[in-house]
């Protein structure tokens, strides 16, 4: 059994939800059973994902559980596209996260999804298959296919079950992301043509020409940056989130955005390291601006869901900073922070759903005093807030701290500004808590239906994860350690080249004096 599982683990991860979605589409069953069938498939996927997480070998940075079947020869090149899947330290956590979030979404769905259950379960499972595929694909073409496959379900999730302005939001979301995807396709074709292979591990081990890297990086990175999203490509996000049903928001924030950061690491950094070094200063600035600007925007929001959406922009700014600092600790922080964001923002979106189902409003001013009338909600909201502002002891702290800590040498000013974002985070998140939870409870907020079992089931695992990763992140961090060290090492030669090139011309540059500050010997010299 175990050998079978190990051999087909990744195939199962993609196939189970895929088969499940088709099964649900055709099985003759009532609404309740449809949801149960969907949940069964999602739970089976989760079990497989956890098996893969548990037996993941932390002592190697390579791909594990790899499977490969040739598919078709790419016309015009020597390349053969294959159905290749593999999992390494970059993907293992995201796979587990996707596996965890999907059953929770299905469990909590009845709160907001009342019609067309069959389609909902179908799209949800289809999306899971797509996401798993994105994180596991070992072939550029396969990656691209999964990338697009994961997009379409969300188009329908928002378009069918969304809020009033759902068509505008979903079209905007799809078109915007598609612009990026098509750019990626262009880059992908050129990489395939010039290197003659589409196999990702193969490409990762090669040193592609600097010119090709430069071109492909721009194509790929733009697509990923839109997906993350970073400022200024972020404006689709609040619209999509506000219109999306709860489950859609949870998956969008929890997993879809991570496809962007995952891509930045897998391709931006691992495949095109030379270009990543060139672009790093720009991206670090973008990351830091995202943190501060996103925080300010979140602070100004009057709509609870928009506030959480903008906070995502700020949080993912940290991840971008951590990636392009190229330091192993910061990279580990970036990987972890991606997962953390999925957990805490996922929980926040669930909570927005919980209160929206009861009050049918998301305006901050309509709430107040919920801590009195709805204490279980208050408990989870405060906990998710604390994780979101990175209080030590919660998962958010470990991620943020590792990013800031690791990025510090060489990027002192960036880190200083990013750390200001930690202050601003407290400003807007606690401001939100103040308005929603505290103050005198108004009459309309007095008699709220208590927390339902399905809501407890959706929120408790996330709350447990916040504390578990915060207090004992060891097992999670171990799984990412080697791959992050390898990533950092991959960039190092190019980093040294640029430093050598820039040293003679401007030795009095600000970067230089800063590094002197951290280096007493340099001071004496």
């Amino acid at each position: 059994m175990s050998a079978f599982l190990d051999n087909h683990l990744l195939t199962l991860l993609v196939a189970l939800p895929l088969v499940g979605s088709l099964f649900v589409l055709f099985v003759p069953a009532g609404e309740r059973w449809l949801r149960r069938w969907g949940l069964a498939f999602a739970l089976a996927t989760l079990a497989v994902a956890l098996h893969g997480y548990w037996w993941f070998d932390s002592t190697t940075s390579g791909f594990q559980y790899a499977v490969e079947h040739p598919w078709f020869a790419l016309p015009g090149t020597e390349a053969t596209v294959s159905l290749a899947l593999g999992m390494d330290g970059l993907s293992v956590l995201l796979v587990a996260l996707s596996g965890i979030l999907m059953p929770l979404v299905l469990v909590a769905a009845p709160g907001g999804i009342k019609t067309r259950i069959r389609e909902f379960v179908f799209w949800a499972l289809m999306m899971e298959a797509g996401m798993m595929g994105v994180f596991l694909a070992q072939d550029l073409v396969l990656f691209y296919i999964f990338w697009e496959v994961s997009l379409i379900p969300l188009y329908f999730l928002i378009g069918i079950w969304g809020g009033e302005n759902r068509i505008y939001a979903t079209v905007k979301f799809v078109l915007y992301t598609l612009v990026g995807s098509l750019l990626m396709l262009v880059g992908l074709i050129r990489v395939a043509l010039e290197s003659g292979t589409t196999n990702i591990p193969e490409l990762l081990s090669r040193d592609l020409s600097v010119e090709l890297q430069g071109f492909a990086f721009v194509c790929f990175a733009l697509s990923f940056l839109i997906k993350v999203p970073v400022v200024p490509f972020h404006t689709w996000l609040p619209d999509a989130h506000v219109q999306a049903p709860t489950g859609g928001s949870v998956i969008l924030a929890g997993v879809m955005l991570k496809m962007g950061t995952y891509g930045l690491m897998r391709f931006g950094l691992q495949m095109f390291p030379a270009a990543a070094v060139d672009w790093a200063p720009v991206l670090i600035v973008i990351g830091v601006v995202g943190i501060l600007y996103g925080s300010l925007l979140a602070w100004a929001q009057r709509d609870l869901k928009k506030l959480v959406a903008y906070s995502s922009v700020a949080h993912l700014g940290f991840v971008v900073l951590g990636i392009f600092a190229f330091e192993p600790t910061a990279l580990q922080g970036a990987v972890l922070q991606g997962v953390n964001h999925g957990i805490s923002t996922g929980a926040l979106f669930f909570l927005v759903g919980v209160i929206y189902d009861r009050r049918h409003t998301r305006q901050l001013k309509d709430f107040g005093g919920l801590a009195t009338s709805f204490p279980s909600f208050a408990f989870f909201l405060v906990l998710a807030t604390l994780a979101s502002v990175g209080l030590p002891g919660t998962n958010g702290f470990v991620g943020e701290f590792l990013i800031l800590f690791g990025s510090f040498p060489g990027h002192e000013w960036a880190v200083a500004f990013a750390a200001l974002g930690v202050v601003l985070g407290a400003v807007y998140m606690l401001g939100m808590c103040r308005e929603v939870l505290f103050g005198r409870v108004r009459k309309v907020n007095r008699d709220l239906k208590p927390m339902q079992i399905r809501e407890w089931v959706a929120l408790t695992p996330l709350a447990a994860l916040m504390l578990w990763i915060g207090l004992y992140p060891g097992p999670v961090l171990d799984r990412t350690r080697l791959v992050c060290e390898a990533m950092s090492a991959r960039v190092q030669p190019y980093l040294e080249q640029t430093e050598e090139a820039s040293l003679p011309e401007d030795s009095e540059s600000s970067a230089d004096t800063k590094s002197n500050l951290l280096n007493p010997q340099g001071m004496e010299r």
Binding site: Y176, A300, Q301, P392, F408, F438, R446, P473, P520
Partner: protein, 656 residues
């Protein structure tokens, strides 16, 4: 020496947190079933919660005593106990574990925190009786003690930071404990955010220390690295200032003190425990703990001394014009913390810790006493509406009198010895000694005055309330017992250091701060004559100004009250705390908020506007181009010929 059971010290309060949280959940459940959200916690869980909470901290105190005795039994230069539970964060070059480490300095802190903490828990049983969040209160209070112990006992700076932010969280939760009052919820939020500004400095300071030569986040390693000159001067100064910014937040010093007076919105035992005796002294502890590092960071200690002295005087001026009894004590706390920093700044590490300990005793006593007064007066906090309470609540009166004497620095009370030690060391220090001494002495005069004012307005004279309506009664035993114990400690605390006779605290702390003291102050030159002279001056100031305050306000409370009501001129500035809050709102909060709203506008109209403009433009272009396909043969012929011309021209240009 590896001593695993040290972990019991913080874990016991955490266990209490958990149990009380469960009790609270049970109460909430019952309320939900009875559909009555406002019902008080019923008698059984209330009694249980109180005793679980108090018991957890008391047990923790006993374990702490055992640890202290174990430590004491060790030879002087080997006095360190450690306990490692598990790894925490291991990433890249970073390797942190859950490790506690007890040396003489934090052993002293630990005893104060658990001891005073247990007393305040006991007091809370009476004070919070009947509150609907009773179990929750004890859950939070236990959590606070646990976090405070993590702060004190952690070996690494990051573990300390965990406690540092953790106590900040508890402070937030407890200031906003009665969150239905919007103002209290605002005060809680303010406290958290102002502390976060300080924590920003803490984080950056930590990074500078690690990457700038420390190579470790363990405080002993950083101290050792500093002694070996691993840090450049500029870096050490910068890192020290960053850490001190963190201290300014947590320990309420200029410019970040503004949250502490507002923090009085919390229940009074919370003010006593968190905002007087323990949490706010974290900054002092941090500087003392990193004493060797600060001793080697030139330029930081003088800044600390000046900020401390300025805060001591500044806050005292405000304290003199407050009419809320808790506000007086709050500004007094800010001021006394200033003295501690003044001591640290001139290298009197022992003196600072001494004052920290005595202050913990007498200020906790004063706050608890004030709580007893407020309890007796049915939540009246305005001192101008009190008066004549002396005989009505005799135990509270007598114990508070002792606390007041200690605060004012009346000879033979504990505060006298500790404050005068700091002032003496200031006068013999290297940082503009006489100016700082003068500021400190001025602050001491103001302290004695407002202490006298507090006593006079609260306890003496005629009752300025209707005794028929407000039935004043002495507090229950659970509340008076801690008062009496703390009163004894407020006197006996002085025994930790009596000039010329005994100085057990200095001897005890010597292995930790001795080196740093030597580094900052140089060889110790006894100056007996000066010391005696300063002691006499200090006594004169304390007694003189205390009796001035007492007499002045006792004689004419009504006149003072009408003056306070009108609040003109200087009094208006003092009563409104020099309008610093308004200044910050004007300079910081409002501009930032405007910036946020501006950003949101820009985001919608410009950033998103561009996106939508592109979309609209594309559609419009499509619409325009669509007209080409009009269906008329003439049009097609036109476009066909135009296209042909373009292609031909292109080809010709290409071939040439």
């Amino acid at each position: 020496m590896e001593t695993p059971w040290l972990w019991l010290i913080p874990l016991l309060p955490f266990l209490g947190t958990l149990l009380n949280a469960l009790l609270h959940a049970g109460v909430l459940r019952r309320r939900q079933q009875e559909r009555d959200l406002m019902a008080p916690a019923v008698a059984v869980p209330e009694r249980l919660a109180g005793w679980i909470g108090t018991g957890a901290v008391a047990l923790s105190f006993l374990v702490a005593v055992a640890a202290f005795l174990r430590l004491k039994a060790l030879p002087v230069d080997e006095r360190v106990l450690t306990a490692t539970l598990a790894p925490w964060i291991q990433a890249g070059s970073l390797d942190l574990s859950w490790t506690l480490s007890i040396d003489p300095l934090n052993a002293a802190m630990m005893l104060v925190v658990t001891g005073v903490g247990a007393l305040i828990h006991l007091y809370s049983i009476g004070y919070m009786h009947g509150d609907k969040g009773f179990c929750k209160y004890f859950s939070y209070l236990n959590l606070f003690v646990g976090m405070m112990l993590m702060l004190i006992l952690s070996e690494s700076l990051l573990g300390l930071f965990l406690g540092w932010e953790g106590v900040g969280l508890c402070s937030y939760l407890l200031i906003g404990f009665w969150y239905e009052d919007g103002e209290k919820a605002d005060a809680a939020r303010k406290a958290f955010i102002v502390n976060r500004i300080g924590d920003f400095g803490f984080l950056i300071g930590m990074f500078l220390l690690y990457w700038g030569g420390g190579g470790s986040l363990n405080m002993s390693d950083i101290n050792a690295a500093a002694s070996q000159g691993a840090f450049s001067e500029g870096l050490a100064t910068l890192a020290g200032l960053c850490l001190f910014l963190g201290c300014c937040g947590k320990s309420a010093q200029i410019p970040l003190y503004v949250w502490l007076p507002d923090a009085m919105a919390g229940p009074t035992p919370v003010s006593a425990l968190i905002h007087a005796a323990t949490m706010v002294t974290s900054g002092i502890y941090l500087v003392a703990r990193l004493g060797d590092f600060f001793a080697f960071a030139p330029g930081v200690l003088p800044v600390i001394a000046c900020v401390g002295a300025a805060t001591a005087l500044f806050a005292a001026t405000i304290g003199i014009a407050q009419r809320d009894i808790k506000k007086v004590l709050a500004y007094s706390t800010v001021s006394q913390l200033g003295y501690m920093f003044l001591g640290l700044g001139v290298g009197a590490f022992t003196g600072a810790v001494f004052h920290l300990i005595t202050h913990a005793f007498f200020k906790a006593l004063l706050f608890l006493g004030a709580g007893s007064v407020i309890h007796a007066m049915h939540h009246q906090q305005d001192m101008f509406k009190m008066g004549g309470l002396r005989d009505r609540i005799p135990i509270t009166y007598k114990t508070m009198l002792i606390g007041a004497f200690a605060l004012a620095g009346v000879p033979l009370f504990s505060g006298f010895f500790s404050k005068d030690l700091i002032l003496f060391e200031t006068a013999t220090g290297h940082t503009s000694p006489w100016l700082l001494w003068l500021v400190g002495a001025g602050g001491a005069a103001l302290t004695a005055t407002y202490t006298g004012r507090l006593l006079a307005l609260t306890f003496y004279g005629e009752a300025r309330f209707d005794p028929q309506k407000t039935k004043v009664h002495e507090s229950p035993r659970t509340m008076t017992l801690p008062l009496m114990v703390l009163a004894v400690l407020s006197i006996a605390g002085g025994l930790l250091g009596i000039p010329f006779i005994m100085h057990p605290l200095a001897d005890w702390l010597d292995p930790v701060v001795g080196q740093a003291t030597l580094e900052v102050r140089g060889e110790h030159h006894p100056a007996h004559g000066l010391e005696i002279a300063l002691l006499l001056v200090g006594s004169a100031i304390a007694i003189g100004f205390l009796s001035f305050g007492l007499r002045h306000y006792r004689r004419s409370p009504e006149e003072q009250r009408s003056r306070a009501d009108q609040a003109t001129g200087l009094l208006r500035w003092l009563a409104n705390a020099w309008f610093v809050d308004a200044l910050y709102a004007l300079l910081v909060t409002t501009p930032l908020k405007i910036l946020a709203i501006l950003s949101a506008t820009v985001d919608v109209f410009f950033v998103d506007g561009t996106v939508n403009w592109v979309a609209r433009r594309s559609r419009a272009t499509g619409n325009d181009v669509r007209r080409m396909q009009s269906g008329g043969a003439n049009d097609y012929a036109l476009w066909f010929s135009l296209g042909a011309v373009v292609i031909v021209v292109g080809l010709l240009a290409g071939t040439r």
